[in-house]
Protein backbone atom coordinates (compact mmCIF):
# COMPACT_ATOMS: atom_id res chain seq x y z
CA UNK A 1 0.00 0.00 0.00
CA UNK A 2 1.33 3.42 -0.91
CA UNK A 3 2.16 5.73 2.00
CA UNK A 4 2.16 8.90 0.00
CA UNK A 5 -0.64 11.30 -0.81
CA UNK A 6 0.53 12.42 -4.26
CA UNK A 7 -1.42 10.73 -7.11
CA UNK A 8 -3.35 8.64 -4.62
CA UNK A 9 -7.11 8.46 -4.07
CA UNK A 10 -8.47 8.77 -0.56
CA UNK A 11 -12.18 8.03 0.04
CA UNK A 12 -14.23 10.85 1.50
CA UNK A 13 -17.53 12.69 1.34
CA UNK A 14 -16.34 16.28 0.85
CA UNK A 15 -17.91 18.45 -1.90
CA UNK A 16 -14.72 17.93 -3.91
CA UNK A 17 -15.12 14.16 -3.64
CA UNK A 18 -18.74 14.45 -4.80
CA UNK A 19 -17.95 16.79 -7.72
CA UNK A 20 -18.49 15.01 -11.06
CA UNK A 21 -15.16 13.62 -12.31
CA UNK A 22 -15.77 14.96 -15.85
CA UNK A 23 -16.25 18.50 -14.51
CA UNK A 24 -13.22 18.12 -12.25
CA UNK A 25 -11.25 16.98 -15.26
CA UNK A 26 -12.06 20.09 -17.31
CA UNK A 27 -11.37 22.31 -14.30
CA UNK A 28 -7.99 20.62 -13.90
CA UNK A 29 -7.17 21.11 -17.60
CA UNK A 30 -8.15 24.79 -17.45
CA UNK A 31 -6.00 25.23 -14.35
CA UNK A 32 -2.87 23.61 -15.77
CA UNK A 33 -3.11 25.64 -18.97
CA UNK A 34 -3.94 28.90 -17.16
CA UNK A 35 -1.39 28.63 -14.34
CA UNK A 36 1.54 28.73 -16.78
CA UNK A 37 0.32 32.08 -18.13
CA UNK A 38 -0.35 33.73 -14.74
CA UNK A 39 1.71 36.39 -12.98
CA UNK A 40 1.95 37.14 -9.23
CA UNK A 41 -1.67 38.37 -8.65
CA UNK A 42 -3.21 35.34 -10.42
CA UNK A 43 -0.89 32.93 -8.61
CA UNK A 44 -1.78 34.51 -5.24
CA UNK A 45 -5.47 34.08 -6.01
CA UNK A 46 -5.05 30.44 -7.00
CA UNK A 47 -2.90 29.73 -3.96
CA UNK A 48 -5.92 30.78 -1.91
CA UNK A 49 -8.14 28.56 -4.08
CA UNK A 50 -5.72 25.69 -3.46
CA UNK A 51 -5.75 26.27 0.33
CA UNK A 52 -9.55 26.31 0.20
CA UNK A 53 -9.51 23.05 -1.79
CA UNK A 54 -7.15 21.41 0.73
CA UNK A 55 -9.37 22.52 3.63
CA UNK A 56 -12.62 21.39 1.98
CA UNK A 57 -11.24 17.98 0.94
CA UNK A 58 -9.66 17.43 4.40
CA UNK A 59 -6.36 16.41 2.83
CA UNK A 60 -3.97 15.35 5.63
CA UNK A 61 -1.25 17.98 5.65
CA UNK A 62 1.55 16.05 7.35
CA UNK A 63 1.87 13.22 4.74
CA UNK A 64 1.41 15.81 2.02
CA UNK A 65 4.33 17.87 3.32
CA UNK A 66 6.38 14.68 3.52
CA UNK A 67 5.60 14.11 -0.17
CA UNK A 68 6.71 17.66 -0.90
CA UNK A 69 10.27 16.70 0.00
CA UNK A 70 10.54 14.76 -3.29
CA UNK A 71 9.42 17.83 -5.20
CA UNK A 72 11.57 20.19 -3.09
CA UNK A 73 14.82 18.86 -4.62
CA UNK A 74 13.39 19.30 -8.10
CA UNK A 75 12.04 22.79 -7.43
CA UNK A 76 15.30 23.90 -5.77
CA UNK A 77 17.28 22.73 -8.82
CA UNK A 78 14.90 24.58 -11.19
CA UNK A 79 15.00 27.71 -8.99
CA UNK A 80 18.80 27.80 -8.88
CA UNK A 81 19.15 27.16 -12.62
CA UNK A 82 16.71 29.95 -13.50
CA UNK A 83 17.90 32.46 -10.89
CA UNK A 84 21.62 32.03 -11.51
CA UNK A 85 21.86 31.76 -15.27
CA UNK A 86 19.53 34.49 -16.51
CA UNK A 87 21.13 36.72 -19.19
CA UNK A 88 19.85 40.01 -17.63
CA UNK A 89 22.32 42.50 -16.07
CA UNK A 90 20.45 43.84 -13.00
CA UNK A 91 22.71 42.02 -10.53
CA UNK A 92 21.60 41.63 -6.92
CA UNK A 93 25.16 42.09 -5.51
CA UNK A 94 28.09 42.42 -7.90
CA UNK A 95 28.55 41.33 -11.50
CA UNK A 96 30.83 38.50 -10.32
CA UNK A 97 27.80 36.79 -8.69
CA UNK A 98 25.47 35.75 -11.55
CA UNK A 99 22.30 36.41 -9.53
CA UNK A 100 19.94 38.97 -11.10
CA UNK A 101 16.64 40.44 -9.96
CA UNK A 102 14.97 39.40 -13.25
CA UNK A 103 16.32 35.87 -12.81
CA UNK A 104 15.06 35.75 -9.23
CA UNK A 105 11.60 36.95 -10.28
CA UNK A 106 11.42 34.44 -13.13
CA UNK A 107 12.63 31.58 -10.91
CA UNK A 108 10.07 32.45 -8.21
CA UNK A 109 7.26 32.55 -10.79
CA UNK A 110 8.26 29.23 -12.38
CA UNK A 111 8.57 27.39 -9.06
CA UNK A 112 5.34 28.87 -7.71
CA UNK A 113 3.48 27.77 -10.85
CA UNK A 114 4.98 24.27 -10.70
CA UNK A 115 4.16 23.89 -7.03
CA UNK A 116 0.56 24.95 -7.66
CA UNK A 117 0.20 22.49 -10.57
CA UNK A 118 1.57 19.71 -8.34
CA UNK A 119 -0.80 20.69 -5.50
CA UNK A 120 -3.86 20.81 -7.75
CA UNK A 121 -2.93 17.47 -9.35
CA UNK A 122 -2.59 15.97 -5.85
CA UNK A 123 -5.98 17.40 -4.93
CA UNK A 124 -7.50 15.97 -8.13
CA UNK A 125 -6.17 12.43 -7.65
CA UNK A 126 -6.87 12.60 -3.89
CA UNK A 127 -10.58 13.29 -4.45
CA UNK A 128 -11.32 11.29 -7.65
CA UNK A 129 -12.17 7.61 -7.49
CA UNK A 130 -10.11 5.61 -10.07
CA UNK A 131 -13.35 4.19 -11.51
CA UNK A 132 -14.80 7.70 -11.97
CA UNK A 133 -11.56 8.84 -13.55
CA UNK A 134 -11.66 5.87 -15.92
CA UNK A 135 -15.26 6.63 -16.90
CA UNK A 136 -14.45 10.32 -17.38
CA UNK A 137 -11.55 9.50 -19.73
CA UNK A 138 -13.69 6.96 -21.64
CA UNK A 139 -16.40 9.61 -22.00
CA UNK A 140 -13.83 12.18 -23.14
CA UNK A 141 -12.19 9.89 -25.69
CA UNK A 142 -15.24 8.06 -27.07
CA UNK A 143 -16.01 10.69 -29.77
CA UNK A 144 -12.49 10.29 -31.21
CA UNK A 145 -12.48 7.63 -33.96
CA UNK A 146 -9.99 4.72 -34.03
CA UNK A 147 -9.12 5.08 -30.33
CA UNK A 148 -10.21 2.24 -28.00
CA UNK A 149 -11.45 4.69 -25.37
CA UNK A 150 -12.16 2.16 -22.62
CA UNK A 151 -8.79 0.46 -22.98
CA UNK A 152 -6.94 3.78 -23.01
CA UNK A 153 -8.89 4.88 -19.93
CA UNK A 154 -7.99 1.63 -18.16
CA UNK A 155 -4.32 2.15 -19.01
CA UNK A 156 -4.38 5.74 -17.73
CA UNK A 157 -6.01 4.62 -14.48
CA UNK A 158 -3.51 1.79 -14.07
CA UNK A 159 -0.67 4.20 -14.73
CA UNK A 160 -1.93 6.55 -12.02
CA UNK A 161 -2.33 3.55 -9.70
CA UNK A 162 1.26 2.51 -10.31
CA UNK A 163 2.74 5.99 -9.79
CA UNK A 164 2.57 6.20 -5.97
CA UNK A 165 3.48 2.52 -5.65
CA UNK A 166 6.63 2.93 -7.73
CA UNK A 167 7.54 6.11 -5.86
CA UNK A 168 7.20 4.25 -2.56
CA UNK A 169 9.30 1.40 -3.90
CA UNK A 170 11.90 3.89 -5.15
CA UNK A 171 12.07 5.41 -1.64
CA UNK A 172 12.48 1.96 -0.09
CA UNK A 173 15.23 1.03 -2.57
CA UNK A 174 16.96 4.38 -2.02
CA UNK A 175 16.93 3.88 1.74
CA UNK A 176 18.15 0.29 1.38
CA UNK A 177 20.96 1.49 -0.91
CA UNK A 178 21.89 4.23 1.55
CA UNK A 179 22.02 1.81 4.47
CA UNK A 180 24.33 -0.44 2.46
CA UNK A 181 26.53 2.53 1.44
CA UNK A 182 25.26 2.13 -2.15
CA UNK A 183 24.84 5.89 -2.42
CA UNK A 184 28.60 6.31 -2.21
CA UNK A 185 29.13 4.51 -5.51
CA UNK A 186 30.99 6.70 -7.96
CA UNK A 187 30.00 4.78 -11.10
CA UNK A 188 26.65 6.26 -12.32
CA UNK A 189 25.95 3.11 -14.38
CA UNK A 190 26.06 1.00 -11.22
CA UNK A 191 23.93 3.60 -9.47
CA UNK A 192 21.21 3.39 -12.15
CA UNK A 193 21.36 -0.42 -12.22
CA UNK A 194 21.26 -0.60 -8.44
CA UNK A 195 18.14 1.56 -8.39
CA UNK A 196 16.30 0.27 -11.45
CA UNK A 197 16.61 -3.52 -10.97
CA UNK A 198 14.90 -3.86 -7.58
CA UNK A 199 12.22 -1.27 -8.48
CA UNK A 200 11.56 -3.21 -11.63
CA UNK A 201 11.33 -6.63 -10.02
CA UNK A 202 8.88 -5.39 -7.38
CA UNK A 203 6.76 -3.49 -9.91
CA UNK A 204 6.58 -6.44 -12.28
CA UNK A 205 5.31 -8.71 -9.52
CA UNK A 206 2.64 -6.10 -8.70
CA UNK A 207 1.70 -5.79 -12.40
CA UNK A 208 1.21 -9.56 -12.66
CA UNK A 209 -1.11 -9.52 -9.66
CA UNK A 210 -3.14 -6.72 -11.27
CA UNK A 211 -3.39 -8.47 -14.65
CA UNK A 212 -4.55 -11.64 -12.93
CA UNK A 213 -7.12 -9.71 -10.88
CA UNK A 214 -8.50 -8.03 -14.02
CA UNK A 215 -8.66 -11.34 -15.84
CA UNK A 216 -10.35 -13.05 -12.88
CA UNK A 217 -13.02 -10.34 -12.85
CA UNK A 218 -13.66 -10.92 -16.56
CA UNK A 219 -12.51 -7.52 -17.79
CA UNK A 220 -13.95 -6.57 -21.20
CA UNK A 221 -13.43 -3.34 -23.07
CA UNK A 222 -16.30 -3.68 -25.52
CA UNK A 223 -19.00 -2.82 -23.00
CA UNK A 224 -20.91 0.40 -23.69
CA UNK A 225 -20.38 3.30 -21.31
CA UNK A 226 -23.49 4.28 -19.38
CA UNK A 227 -22.97 7.62 -17.71
CA UNK A 228 -25.69 10.09 -16.73
CA UNK A 229 -25.50 13.54 -18.30
CA UNK A 230 -23.37 16.07 -16.41
CA UNK A 231 -25.59 17.67 -13.72
CA UNK A 232 -25.95 21.44 -14.05
CA UNK A 233 -24.94 22.14 -10.44
CA UNK A 234 -21.66 20.28 -11.05
CA UNK A 235 -21.02 22.23 -14.22
CA UNK A 236 -21.37 25.57 -12.47
CA UNK A 237 -18.13 25.44 -10.39
CA UNK A 238 -16.23 24.26 -13.50
CA UNK A 239 -17.44 27.24 -15.52
CA UNK A 240 -16.74 29.58 -12.57
CA UNK A 241 -13.21 28.21 -12.17
CA UNK A 242 -12.53 28.41 -15.93
CA UNK A 243 -13.70 32.05 -15.93
CA UNK A 244 -11.52 32.80 -12.91
CA UNK A 245 -8.53 31.26 -14.73
CA UNK A 246 -9.32 33.29 -17.83
CA UNK A 247 -9.64 36.53 -15.85
CA UNK A 248 -6.35 35.86 -14.05
CA UNK A 249 -4.27 35.48 -17.21
CA UNK A 250 -2.46 38.66 -18.30
CA UNK A 251 -4.01 38.84 -21.80
CA UNK A 252 -7.55 39.17 -20.46
CA UNK A 253 -6.62 41.50 -17.57
CA UNK A 254 -4.75 43.76 -20.01
CA UNK A 255 -7.74 43.74 -22.37
CA UNK A 256 -10.05 44.72 -19.48
CA UNK A 257 -7.61 47.47 -18.43
CA UNK A 258 -7.83 48.84 -21.98
CA UNK A 259 -4.26 48.09 -23.05
CA UNK A 260 -5.41 45.56 -25.62
CA UNK A 261 -8.57 45.46 -27.74
CA UNK A 262 -11.01 42.86 -26.37
CA UNK A 263 -11.17 40.98 -29.68
CA UNK A 264 -7.39 40.29 -29.42
Amino acid sequence: MAHRIGFHFHPGSSPLHRWDARCKFFAMMALTIGLFKMQFPGLTLFTLVMVLGFTVSRLPLRPFLRDCRTWAYLLTAIFLLQALFHPSTDHVWTSSVPLTWTGLELATLTCWRLLLVLCFATLFTFTTRPKDLQDAITWLLSPIPFIPARRVALMVTLMLRFLPLIMDQADEVRMAMKSRMGGDRKNPLRKIKGMALPIFRKSLARADELALALSARGYRDDLPLRLPPVPGKHLLPTVALALLVLCSTPLVTEAIAGKLPLWF
Binding site: F7, F25, M28, M29, L31, T32, I33, F36, T70, W71, Y73, L74, L75, A77, I78, L114, V117, L118, A121, F124, T125, I137, R151, V152, L154, M155, V156, L158, M159, L160, F162, L163, I166, M167, A170, P188, L189, K191, I192, K193, M195, A196, L197, I199, F200, R201, S203, L204, R206, A207, D208, L210, A211, L212, L214, S215, Y219, R220, D221
Partner: protein
Protein backbone atom coordinates in the same frame (compact mmCIF):
# COMPACT_ATOMS: atom_id res chain seq x y z
CA UNK B 1 -9.98 -10.65 -23.22
CA UNK B 2 -7.10 -13.10 -22.74
CA UNK B 3 -4.80 -12.91 -19.71
CA UNK B 4 -1.79 -12.48 -22.04
CA UNK B 5 -3.35 -9.43 -23.63
CA UNK B 6 -4.30 -7.98 -20.24
CA UNK B 7 -0.78 -8.62 -19.03
CA UNK B 8 0.62 -6.58 -21.92
CA UNK B 9 -1.83 -3.77 -21.19
CA UNK B 10 -0.77 -3.74 -17.52
CA UNK B 11 2.95 -3.88 -18.41
CA UNK B 12 2.56 -1.01 -20.87
CA UNK B 13 0.78 1.02 -18.14
CA UNK B 14 3.56 0.11 -15.72
CA UNK B 15 6.13 1.47 -18.17
CA UNK B 16 4.10 4.67 -18.61
CA UNK B 17 4.24 5.09 -14.82
CA UNK B 18 7.96 4.30 -14.77
CA UNK B 19 8.60 6.95 -17.44
CA UNK B 20 6.64 9.46 -15.34
CA UNK B 21 8.54 8.50 -12.18
CA UNK B 22 11.78 8.75 -14.18
CA UNK B 23 11.05 12.43 -14.66
CA UNK B 24 11.29 12.86 -10.85
CA UNK B 25 14.47 10.83 -10.30
CA UNK B 26 17.57 13.02 -10.59
CA UNK B 27 21.08 11.62 -10.47
CA UNK B 28 23.62 14.44 -10.00
CA UNK B 29 26.08 14.54 -12.93
CA UNK B 30 28.30 17.01 -14.80
CA UNK B 31 27.33 19.09 -16.86
CA UNK B 32 23.58 18.50 -16.23
CA UNK B 33 21.83 16.09 -13.83
CA UNK B 34 20.53 12.84 -15.31
CA UNK B 35 16.74 12.36 -15.39
CA UNK B 36 15.75 8.72 -15.83
CA UNK B 37 12.78 9.46 -18.13
CA UNK B 38 14.30 8.39 -21.45
CA UNK B 39 16.10 5.49 -19.77
CA UNK B 40 12.66 3.95 -19.18
CA UNK B 41 11.58 4.87 -22.74
CA UNK B 42 14.52 2.85 -24.10
CA UNK B 43 13.85 0.03 -21.66
CA UNK B 44 10.21 -0.08 -22.80
CA UNK B 45 11.41 -0.41 -26.39
CA UNK B 46 13.84 -3.21 -25.55
CA UNK B 47 11.43 -5.20 -23.38
CA UNK B 48 7.91 -4.51 -24.67
CA UNK B 49 8.59 -4.39 -28.40
CA UNK B 50 7.69 -1.63 -30.85
CA UNK B 51 3.88 -1.66 -30.61
CA UNK B 52 3.46 -1.80 -26.83
CA UNK B 53 6.39 0.50 -26.14
CA UNK B 54 4.83 3.07 -28.48
CA UNK B 55 1.44 2.66 -26.77
CA UNK B 56 3.10 2.97 -23.37
CA UNK B 57 4.76 6.29 -24.26
CA UNK B 58 1.50 7.53 -25.85
CA UNK B 59 -0.36 6.84 -22.59
CA UNK B 60 2.34 8.75 -20.70
CA UNK B 61 1.99 11.67 -23.13
CA UNK B 62 -1.81 11.56 -22.84
CA UNK B 63 -1.67 11.75 -19.03
CA UNK B 64 0.72 14.70 -19.34
CA UNK B 65 -1.53 16.36 -21.93
CA UNK B 66 -4.51 15.98 -19.58
CA UNK B 67 -2.66 18.20 -17.13
CA UNK B 68 -1.09 15.85 -14.60
CA UNK B 69 2.48 16.86 -13.72
CA UNK B 70 4.31 13.87 -15.21
CA UNK B 71 6.67 15.61 -17.62
CA UNK B 72 10.26 16.46 -16.74
CA UNK B 73 10.45 19.02 -13.92
CA UNK B 74 6.94 18.23 -12.66
CA UNK B 75 5.27 19.92 -15.63
CA UNK B 76 2.06 18.92 -17.40
CA UNK B 77 -0.56 20.28 -19.76
CA UNK B 78 -1.33 20.41 -23.43
CA UNK B 79 0.71 23.60 -23.88
CA UNK B 80 3.98 21.71 -23.49
CA UNK B 81 3.50 19.95 -26.80
CA UNK B 82 3.62 23.28 -28.58
CA UNK B 83 6.49 24.66 -26.44
CA UNK B 84 10.24 24.40 -27.14
CA UNK B 85 10.50 20.91 -25.61
CA UNK B 86 7.41 19.52 -27.38
CA UNK B 87 9.58 17.84 -30.01
CA UNK B 88 11.34 15.76 -27.38
CA UNK B 89 7.96 14.51 -26.13
CA UNK B 90 6.95 13.34 -29.61
CA UNK B 91 10.49 12.05 -30.02
CA UNK B 92 10.04 9.76 -27.01
CA UNK B 93 7.13 7.97 -28.70
CA UNK B 94 9.06 7.46 -31.92
CA UNK B 95 12.20 6.53 -30.01
CA UNK B 96 10.37 3.76 -28.12
CA UNK B 97 8.95 2.44 -31.40
CA UNK B 98 12.33 2.50 -33.18
CA UNK B 99 14.08 0.82 -30.23
CA UNK B 100 11.42 -1.92 -30.14
CA UNK B 101 11.41 -2.31 -33.91
CA UNK B 102 15.17 -2.89 -34.07
CA UNK B 103 15.27 -5.21 -31.06
CA UNK B 104 12.36 -7.28 -32.44
CA UNK B 105 14.13 -7.82 -35.74
CA UNK B 106 17.57 -8.61 -34.43
CA UNK B 107 19.10 -11.27 -32.23
CA UNK B 108 19.10 -10.82 -28.47
CA UNK B 109 22.74 -9.78 -28.18
CA UNK B 110 24.38 -6.81 -26.46
CA UNK B 111 25.66 -5.50 -29.79
CA UNK B 112 22.18 -5.28 -31.35
CA UNK B 113 20.73 -3.82 -28.16
CA UNK B 114 23.42 -1.13 -28.23
CA UNK B 115 22.52 -0.40 -31.87
CA UNK B 116 18.81 -0.18 -30.97
CA UNK B 117 19.31 2.24 -28.05
CA UNK B 118 21.79 4.36 -30.03
CA UNK B 119 19.43 4.83 -32.98
CA UNK B 120 16.50 5.36 -30.60
CA UNK B 121 18.38 8.00 -28.57
CA UNK B 122 19.31 9.84 -31.75
CA UNK B 123 15.66 9.70 -32.88
CA UNK B 124 14.69 11.87 -29.88
CA UNK B 125 17.15 14.55 -31.00
CA UNK B 126 16.17 14.15 -34.67
CA UNK B 127 12.74 15.50 -33.71
CA UNK B 128 13.58 17.51 -30.59
CA UNK B 129 16.36 19.73 -31.95
CA UNK B 130 14.60 20.89 -35.19
CA UNK B 131 11.46 21.52 -33.10
CA UNK B 132 13.48 23.57 -30.60
CA UNK B 133 15.04 25.51 -33.48
CA UNK B 134 11.66 26.15 -35.07
CA UNK B 135 9.89 27.29 -31.90
CA UNK B 136 12.70 29.46 -30.51
CA UNK B 137 13.92 30.76 -33.93
CA UNK B 138 17.52 29.83 -32.99
CA UNK B 139 20.18 28.83 -35.51
CA UNK B 140 21.12 25.15 -35.85
CA UNK B 141 24.36 25.47 -33.92
CA UNK B 142 22.74 27.15 -30.91
CA UNK B 143 19.79 24.73 -30.95
CA UNK B 144 22.15 21.75 -30.92
CA UNK B 145 24.33 23.36 -28.22
CA UNK B 146 21.35 23.98 -25.96
CA UNK B 147 19.13 21.01 -26.79
CA UNK B 148 21.56 18.17 -27.39
CA UNK B 149 25.21 18.62 -26.39
CA UNK B 150 24.73 18.99 -22.57
CA UNK B 151 22.66 15.80 -22.47
CA UNK B 152 24.92 13.53 -24.52
CA UNK B 153 27.06 12.25 -21.63
CA UNK B 154 23.95 11.41 -19.63
CA UNK B 155 22.33 9.79 -22.65
CA UNK B 156 25.30 7.51 -23.25
CA UNK B 157 25.10 6.40 -19.61
CA UNK B 158 21.33 5.90 -19.77
CA UNK B 159 21.58 3.94 -23.02
CA UNK B 160 24.31 1.75 -21.51
CA UNK B 161 22.24 1.24 -18.35
CA UNK B 162 19.15 0.38 -20.44
CA UNK B 163 21.12 -2.35 -22.24
CA UNK B 164 22.50 -3.74 -18.95
CA UNK B 165 19.12 -3.66 -17.16
CA UNK B 166 17.25 -5.07 -20.18
CA UNK B 167 19.75 -7.94 -20.40
CA UNK B 168 19.22 -8.69 -16.71
CA UNK B 169 15.44 -8.46 -16.93
CA UNK B 170 14.72 -10.05 -20.31
CA UNK B 171 14.71 -13.71 -19.18
CA UNK B 172 12.24 -12.91 -16.41
CA UNK B 173 10.19 -10.69 -18.70
CA UNK B 174 10.00 -13.26 -21.50
CA UNK B 175 9.12 -16.00 -19.09
CA UNK B 176 6.23 -13.93 -17.80
CA UNK B 177 5.04 -12.83 -21.21
CA UNK B 178 5.76 -16.15 -22.89
CA UNK B 179 7.42 -14.43 -25.83
CA UNK B 180 9.50 -16.55 -28.14
CA UNK B 181 12.73 -14.58 -28.42
CA UNK B 182 14.33 -14.45 -31.91
CA UNK B 183 16.85 -17.25 -32.36
Amino acid sequence: MSTDHLQRIVYASLFSALIAVGAYIHIPMVPVPIVLQNFFVLLAGLLLGSRWAFISVCIYLLVGALGLPVFSGGRGGLGHFLGPTGGYLFGFALSAYVCGWISERTRDTVMFSVAAVTVASLTVYAIGVPWLKMVTQMDWQRAALLGMVPFLVGDVLKAAAAVVVAKALRPMFNRRLRIATPA
